[in-house]
């Protein structure tokens, strides 16, 4: 295994090349800046809070939009806080949900304290144990190619833990206005009339 970890922005850029028309939900912290830097668009929902809820939010969206793929892009600390959601997702088996964890083994927003994944906790193994059909840990470029291939060919839901450097990403900030982010996303997905006139 290589000791040089992947660069998070390189990883996200490569993944976004194969995103297609998937909807994206970013968990709070660096994944928000990463997604905004790599592929900012209305069909991104950026969580500025609610740590631990990105995966359950992705599940709700995937169940509501069965014809679209939904990608959750989150971090190891955020995923660990809502780790029971692996089991909830596995029970529902949405065949359109992808969970990408940018695992830098640290809490990046609070002073780079180590997370459990730096002490031996294996998120992909936890996801597999929960019953997620496709799980993998990505350490290098070859693993990343395998992940990109799995996104096209393997059964979903999929959980991938991608080991990335714990460098601070470039701060590319989307709006902090939650109502705006929500409404923009709904307008893009549902069209303005359905998004703005609820009956």
């Amino acid at each position: 295994m290589s000791t040089t970890k992947l660069n998070r922005s390189d990883v996200l850029n490569k993944l976004m090349e194969v995103r297609g028309n998937a909807l994206a939900i970013a968990g709070l912290g660096s994944p928000v800046w990463d997604l905004a830097a790599s592929d900012h668009q209305p069909e991104n929902f950026y969580n500025w809070g609610g740590m631990g809820c990105a995966i359950s939010m992705g599940l709700g969206c995937a169940l509501a939009q069965p014809k679209r793929n939904v990608w959750v892009i989150t971090g190891d600390g955020e995923a660990l806080m809502g780790v029971g959601s692996f089991a909830t997702v596995a029970n529902q088996r949405p065949d359109n949900l992808v969970i990408i964890i940018l695992d830098n083994e640290h809490y990046g927003e609070t002073g780079m304290q180590k997370t459990h994944t730096s002490g031996g906790t294996d998120l992909a193994a936890m996801a597999a144990g929960a019953g997620i059909p496709t799980t993998m840990t990505v350490h290098n470029d070859e693993d990343l190619k395998n992940l990109i291939n799995a996104l096209k060919t393997s059964p979903l839901p999929l959980v991938a833990s991608i080991k990335v450097e714990n460098t601070k990403p470039k701060l590319v900030l989307p709006s902090r206005d939650g109502v705006y982010i929500k409404t923009r996303f709904r307008q893009a997905v549902l069209g303005s009339t359905a998004a703005l006139h609820v009956t």
């Binding site: 969580n47 709700g60 109502v179």
Partner: protein, 183 residues
């Protein structure tokens, strides 16, 4: 005889086009959970913690569908930051049914503190809280709450009182034999 509140809840879920129901079970929710599972138009999602219900419901709304979240009163404590952070900040609709413990006739002292905290905690988060104690009151509040949540982007909790669902029999009332060890 009044329509049982669980029957009314399911009927009103249909009327208001609730498509996803997330729950952590409670004895008082048994009939409603059963009827949701039996309904092919409703995706029933068993959750590991009530907090997931807030993500699930918000995610459903992002995808253009309405969700309801069911839990026991003790689970309300697990939802607090998600409600404050996600639902309030983004004005997501939220519709919760909470079956109460720690109230009228409670026989487990460990349920009392959280049961008493539920209404003030939810109100402190800015939620609309309706406490009901009869089947008719429950049906009326569920109908009103569904409208408020999804048309007015409100966060609503219906607290089903223990007077209505009945205080759960303590194990000593139903077990064949009870042995006390702390004597």
């Amino acid at each position: 005889m009044a329509e049982p509140w669980t029957t009314a809840a399911h009927r009103l879920f249909k009327k208001h086009n609730i498509r996803t129901v997330g729950y952590v079970p409670d004895a008082g929710l048994t009939e409603l959970i059963k009827s949701c599972h039996a309904d092919n138009d409703i995706k029933s999602v068993v959750m590991t913690t009530e907090e997931e219900g807030i993500g699930l419901s918000s995610g459903a709304w992002l995808g253009g569908e309405k969700a309801a979240v069911l839990m026991q009163s003790s689970g309300v404590g697990n939802t607090v930051n998600a409600i404050a952070s996600i639902v309030s900040s983004c004005q997501f609709p939220l519709f919760m049914i909470v079956t109460m413990r720690g109230q009228y006739g409670e026989s487990n002292p460990w349920q009392m503190p959280m049961g008493q905290a539920v209404a003030p905690v939810l109100k402190s988060l800015g939620m609309h809280v309706f406490e009901v104690e009869t089947d008719d009151e429950a049906a009326e509040a569920i109908e009103a709450g569904l409208k408020m949540a999804f048309v007015s982007n409100a966060a609503v909790a219906i607290l089903i009182g223990q007077k209505l669902i009945g205080a759960k029999s303590f194990i000593a009332d139903v077990a064949e034999e009870v042995i006390n060890v702390d004597n």
